[in-house]
Each structure stands twice: as structure tokens, then as C-alpha cells.
């Protein structure tokens, strides 16, 4: 080292020059930034037709009844393949496998969800046809989607109460779909036939009974009216039901706020008459989710959403059901959960999402569901840190309320979940 640097006076000169250069760079951020840019590697990431991730989770829930603790370990594998071939053709396949072990037992429970498997043909740039199992999801609201007409019975395996997870981990329906596009507008039509009678609990079933239990059809049209306003209209129908009209509307209120309205209306029976096989009480009923998302300059987004289910129970009928036979209550809750409908008329959803909170790559999310009809609440929060290929997250959930209330009836009072996700 000494030989390299030479005499003490030369060393002093070099150190002085180095210090001066550092000082210059520090004083000239442009020069320092350009130096950094010079060192940037030149390779470009290539796209892949595969998207694959694996998730390991450990959760502990506390029972509401006796404070007993239940531990569940879960291992999930999620794959999506999306390949364009022969110029105009595209093949999409998406599948998820969840394996669970309860209380360190050797007993393994597997649930496979065949989310999508379809072929797409783009006959012209503005004409596209699809055939196969497709997750045809509509809706602009954040938590409750009245126009997501194919949501009923679609979730086979609940891994989180996060609305995004419920949308993602679900079955598509087998259908044929066509879409035509024009400048600032589009029209889609789909038909989904009945293919099976009953849902299946079998681990690796395609579960056509859940996704294609009856004939259904849907027409959706969008026309942009301005940069801030582009409504989407939907008409949905099927065997054993009257057509339902749907509307999705978003509007840019200002530079930081997006407002939305999602609404469906049509002649339908009430949930209680469906659940308890009561005489049909078909009437015009509407479902609504409306709210806004505001984003602050510090990357904090706040969403407030009001939900209305015209087929759900009002306060008096909900109180009566809670006081009545448990079997009726159970049937009603099971039906509402299967339809992903709120059990009561009204509900409020609040979400806070803070990206890069406090430190870079740390995201905080908090969801609060409030049922004003029975004053019960669900609180879910997640702290997530992400590296290049790995996400680590800690989730906490609290269900509170009177016995028999929407969230007070949950068998779990509290739930912790730690999870790690590896993206291949």
C-alpha cells in the first residue's frame, strides 16, 4: 500500500485530491447522479409467459366461544401462464393450490382452484372472442361489487378477508365471450352455460357445479364521455331470474380524488326468502356501493365506501332472525357469504393504504368494515415489506360485536397471520 501511495507528502496530496473530489461531487448532485448512472448495469429484463409464486403462512386464531387457540399452517402455489401464439391467438391458464395443516397435525387439507383456462382469438384489432373458463369480473367499487355478477359461489378457499384476495383467488366460469371495440367505447357479450348441478368439495375438482350451476348471460357496454367520466352499463340474466341492470361509474373529482358508483337493480327475491325457501317475494331491489379514494402527497390513500344491499335484511328483520332458530340464522349467513352479499341493508368500508410508509418498500394497509345495523365491526391490518423476489407480511384481524351480529358471530375473535411470498 505504501509502495503504491509513495511518500507521505504524495499520500497527503492524493488524500487531499480525493477529499476535494468527494466534496465537489457532494456539492454537485448532478455530477454525482451522472456518475451513479454510469455504473448502472445495462441488461434489460425479459418478459415471461409464466408468473409463479409460492406463499407460506402461519396463523393463530382465538376462538370467540372459549378463547381456545387454533394454529393453521398453509402452503400455497399460484401459477399463471399467458402465451400469445399464431399471431392472433392467446392461451391463458391460472391455477392455485392451497394446502393447510391445523394444529400441527399431519392431516393435510388441499383445495385447488382452477381459476382460468381459456383461448382467445383476436380476429381483428377491434374484435376478440374467448372460450373457456374465464374470471369475468366487473365492478369499480373497492370492497362490495354489486355488478360482479359472477361472484356467487366462486371462492373455494379463503386465505384472507382482504377484498383483493377474495377477487383474486376464485373460480372463473366456463363461457364464450365476444368483444368489439370502437374509439372510446366497447361492447362485450358472454354466455355461460349450465354444466353441472352441485358444487364439489373434492380437493382437485374443477368445480363446474360452483361456477356453472345454471345458464347465464351478460352484455356490457362502455362509452367514454370525457376524460373524467366513462360509464359502463351491464345487463345480466340467467335461468330462474329476471334480468339485472348494472352501472359502473367513476369520476375524477380533482387531481387527488376518484369517486365511484356501482349499482345494480332488477326484480329479485330477498335473501331471506331464498335462504329459508319462503314464498317468493320478488320485487325491484337494488344493490349499491359508492365511495371515493383520496391520495395524499405522502402516498397515503384513503377510501370510504357506503354499501347498500336491497335484498338484505333491515334492522327489525335482522334482529328477529338473530333471536330465532339458529338453523335459520345459519342458512341465511351461509347464503349471504356464498353470494358475497352483505347480510344487512347497509355497511360502511374504510381503507387506509400507505405505500412506502416510513421507509421505502414498506406498505401498510388497514381495512375497517362497520355494520351500522348491528354495530359490529371487522378490523384488518397488514404490514408488508417487499424485496425483489420476496414479500413478508404480518396481518392482524379483529371481529367485534354482539352475539349474532355480522362480525360478532364469527367463530374467530382475533387472528394473526404471518406470511412470506416468493415470486419466481
Amino acid at each position: 500500500m505504501d509502495a503504491c501511495l509513495g511518500s507521505p507528502s504524495r499520500r497527503l496530496l492524493i488524500l487531499t485530491l480525493l477529499a476535494a473530489a468527494t466534496a465537489v461531487l457532494a456539492d454537485d448532485p448532478d455530477a454525482a447522479a451522472l456518475l451513479l448512472a454510469d455504473k448502472t448495469a445495462t441488461e434489460t429484463a425479459q418478459g415471461s409467459n409464466w408468473r409463479l409464486f409460492s406463499e407460506a403462512a402461519w396463523s393463530e386464531s382465538t376462538s370467540r366461544a372459549n378463547a381456545a387457540r387454533l394454529q393453521v399452517e398453509r402452503l400455497s402455489l399460484d401459477v399463471r401462464y399467458d402465451k400469445t401464439f399464431a399471431a392472433d391467438w392467446r392461451a391463458v391458464f391460472a391455477d392455485r393450490l392451497d394446502a393447510r395443516w391445523e394444529d400441527r397435525s399431519s392431516h393435510e387439507t388441499n383445495v385447488n382452484t382452477l381459476k382460468e383456462a381459456y383461448l382467445s382469438w383476436q380476429a381483428r384489432p377491434d374484435r376478440i372472442a374467448d372460450l373457456g373458463r374465464i374470471n369475468a369480473r366487473y365492478g369499480v367499487a373497492s370492497a362490495y361489487n354489486p355488478t360482479d355478477f359472477f361472484r356467487a359461489g366462486a371462492v373455494r378457499s379463503v386465505v384472507s378477508v382482504d377484498p383483493a384476495s377474495l377477487r383474486e383467488n376464485r373460480l372463473g366460469s366456463v363461457m364464450v365471450r365476444a368483444q368489439t371495440l370502437w374509439n372510446e367505447g366497447a361492447l362485450s357479450a358472454l354466455y355461460s352455460p349450465k354444466l353441472a348441478d352441485q358444487p364439489s368439495d373434492s380437493a382437485f375438482s374443477a368445480d363446474l357445479g360452483a361456477s356453472n350451476g345454471r345458464d347465464r348471460w351478460l352484455v356490457a357496454g362502455t362509452q367514454k364521455l370525457s376524460d373524467r367520466f366513462d360509464p359502463q352499463w351491464l345487463l345480466f340474466g340467467g335461468a330462474g331470474q329476471s334480468p339485472q341492470l348494472g352501472l359502473n361509474l367513476t369520476a375524477l373529482v380533482n387531481e387527488a380524488t376518484v369517486a365511484y358508483v356501482e349499482w345494480s337493480v332488477g326484480r329479485t327475491p330477498s335473501l331471506i326468502s331464498q335462504a329459508l325457501l319462503l314464498p317468493e317475494d320478488i320485487a325491484f331491489r337494488s344493490r349499491l356501493a359508492t365511495g371515493f379514494t383520496y391520495t395524499a402527497a405522502n402516498k397515503l390513500s384513503l377510501t370510504l365506501e357506503y354499501q347498500y344491499n336491497g335484498a338484505g335484511l333491515n334492522q327489525a328483520d335482522w334482529d328477529a332472525l338473530r333471536r330465532g332458530p339458529p338453523i335459520n340464522y345459519g342458512r341465511y349467513r351461509a347464503l349471504a357469504a356464498n353470494l358475497q352479499d352483505p347480510p344487512t341493508r347497509r355497511k360502511v368500508f374504510l381503507r387506509g393504504y400507505w405505500q412506502d410508509a416510513l421507509v421505502n418498500h414498506l406498505d401498510l394497509t388497514t381495512d375497517v368494515f362497520v355494520n351500522p345495523v348491528d354495530s359490529s365491526r371487522q378490523f384488518w391490518t397488514e404490514t408488508r415489506y417487499h424485496w425483489t423476489h420476496v414479500d413478508a407480511a404480518l396481518q392482524w384481524q379483529l371481529n367485534s360485536g354482539q352475539p349474532g351480529s355480522e362480525y360478532g358471530a364469527s367463530p374467530e375473535r382475533r387472528l394473526w397471520q404471518v406470511l412470506a411470498t416468493y415470486f419466481f
Binding site: 448532485p29 448512472a37 434489460t44 418478459g47 369480473r137 371495440l181 376524460d227
Partner: protein, 257 residues
């Protein structure tokens, strides 16, 4: 090719200054825009590498198809995330203030506010594919020597750009354009209160789609100079981008070649 006469014309307008009258500042700006932005629909791959305090903190790769609006002149873009793996295949549409994000996993189409977009890396796209001459009134304030992104001294026009409408991202901009060839050299972007938002260096000029274009932009945050983003452009190609694709209903269908 169509863009060549345009560039040549703009260059001629700029060069006309040498022969007689001073070049129009707006013409210089237009010529500079034409160097950054192809005049026909095109596709490219953008790699963004972000540094904080001298260390790489993030890296994203995006596949982008862009097309200028025949009325406003501004670019509309379909963007597909290529990397990191977590975000792969997510999509974004930017069509003026019509901003949509689509996740193929959850099938959720989410409308974004301009504020949400500005918080992400995509905001830096404004520094790159934006036709400044459409939104800004240029004034020639000086002709001076400045150091470019390669640390070479260039004789430049220094332009002061003032926004002509209030809904643009930057209230005013200082821009240095090489007086020999109208290449953008660097720019400083400001808020209304004259706060420096970012500095951009346009560098590594290479022949792309028939014109020498910058293949790298180095962006330095105005508030935190230790926050540096390097944007690299590769895989330039002419692409057919029908008008019918530039809407949210097409977004789930978009897959760049």
C-alpha cells in the same frame, strides 16, 4: 419516413437563426420534441433503476406502446409491467387524465387520480414522452455553454417554458437544447412556487427509428438530490396502436410483442 422531414424542417427553422433572424424559441422546442418523440405510434422497453443515497433501491421494466393524440399532440400509452416478478403483467393506461390500472390476477380495473400516478415511477414518463411545445410557451433566455450528460461542454439554447394551461404537471421548465442539432441536453422542472421538482439529463444518443435519440434519461429529484432515477430505452420499434386500444376495456387484452 415521415418524421425525417419534420425533424429536418424544425432543424432548418432553428438553423435559420444563423442565416438571419434568431430562431423561434417555440420552433427550437418543437424540433427538440421531435428528437425525443417518434411521430408515429411506437413501442419500446423502459428500464427504470432507482437509487437512494447512492444505493440501488428499486428496478422496474415496462413494455410501452405510445401514440400521439392527433388533436392535443400528447402521448397516450399502454404500459405492461415486465419486472419485478411481483408486478409482472400488471397494466396501465394513460390517456390524458384518463388513467387506469389493471391487475390480471384480481381482474380489478382501478381508476387512478393524477396524484396517484405522480407518486409512482410512471410520473417520470412525463419527463420523457411529452410534447412540451403543445403545453408550454417557450422563450429564448440565453445561448450559453453547459455540460451535458456525458460531461461534454455543449453550446445550448436556454429556453424558459411557461405552462399555457393550469392542468399540466410542471408549472415552468428551464431547458437546454443543443444549438447545433436541437437535441435536448438537460431540463429543470419547477412548481408554481419555483420549487425545483426534478432535473433531467438526456444522454447516450443513438440512432433509433431513423433519428439520433436519447436512450437514457437521468432524473434527479429536486428536493432530495440523493434520489436518482435512471431510465433506459431499448427495443424501439414502430407499432400499430389502433385508437380502439386506448381505452380501459382493451387494457386486459394488451400484450406487447
Amino acid at each position: 419516413m415521415k418524421f425525417q422531414p419534420l425533424v429536418a424542417c424544425a432543424a432548418l427553422l432553428a438553423l435559420a437563426g444563423g442565416a438571419g433572424a434568431a430562431p423561434s424559441a417555440q420552433a427550437i422546442l418543437s424540433a427538440s420534441d421531435a428528437i425525443r418523440n417518434p411521430d408515429k405510434p411506437f413501442g419500446l422497453t423502459v428500464t427504470l433503476v432507482e437509487y437512494r443515497n447512492g444505493k440501488q433501491s428499486d428496478s422496474n421494466t415496462l413494455g410501452v406502446y405510445s401514440k400521439a393524440d392527433s388533436n392535443s399532440g400528447q402521448f397516450r400509452s399502454l404500459i405492461r409491467f415486465v419486472a419485478p416478478a411481483r408486478d409482472a403483467d400488471k397494466l396501465m393506461l394513460k390517456n390524458g387524465n384518463d388513467l387506469w390500472f389493471y391487475d390480471p390476477s384480481s381482474k380489478a380495473s382501478i381508476r387512478l387520480s393524477p396524484q396517484q400516478r405522480l407518486l409512482g415511477q410512471a410520473a417520470n414518463g412525463d419527463v420523457v414522452t411529452v410534447n412540451l411545445a403543445k403545453d408550454y410557451q417557450a422563450q429564448l433566455t440565453a445561448e450559453e455553454e453547459t455540460q451535458d450528460g456525458e460531461r461534454e461542454t455543449r453550446r445550448c439554447y436556454k429556453l424558459a417554458l411557461a405552462a399555457v394551461s393550469p392542468d399540466v404537471t410542471y408549472h415552468h421548465i428551464e431547458m437546454w437544447i443543443d444549438s447545433a442539432n436541437n437535441r435536448p441536453v438537460k431540463a429543470r422542472f419547477y412548481t408554481e412556487s419555483d420549487r425545483l421538482l426534478k432535473t433531467a439529463y438526456y444522454r447516450h444518443y443513438q440512432a433509433q427509428l431513423g433519428v439520433q435519440r436519447p436512450t437514457e434519461t437521468v432524473i434527479i429529484d429536486g428536493l432530495d438530490p440523493n434520489w436518482v432515477t435512471v431510465m433506459r430505452y431499448t427495443d424501439y420499434a414502430w407499432r400499430d396502436v389502433p385508437e380502439t386500444w386506448l381505452q380501459r376495456d382493451y387494457l386486459p387484452r394488451f400484450k406487447p410483442e
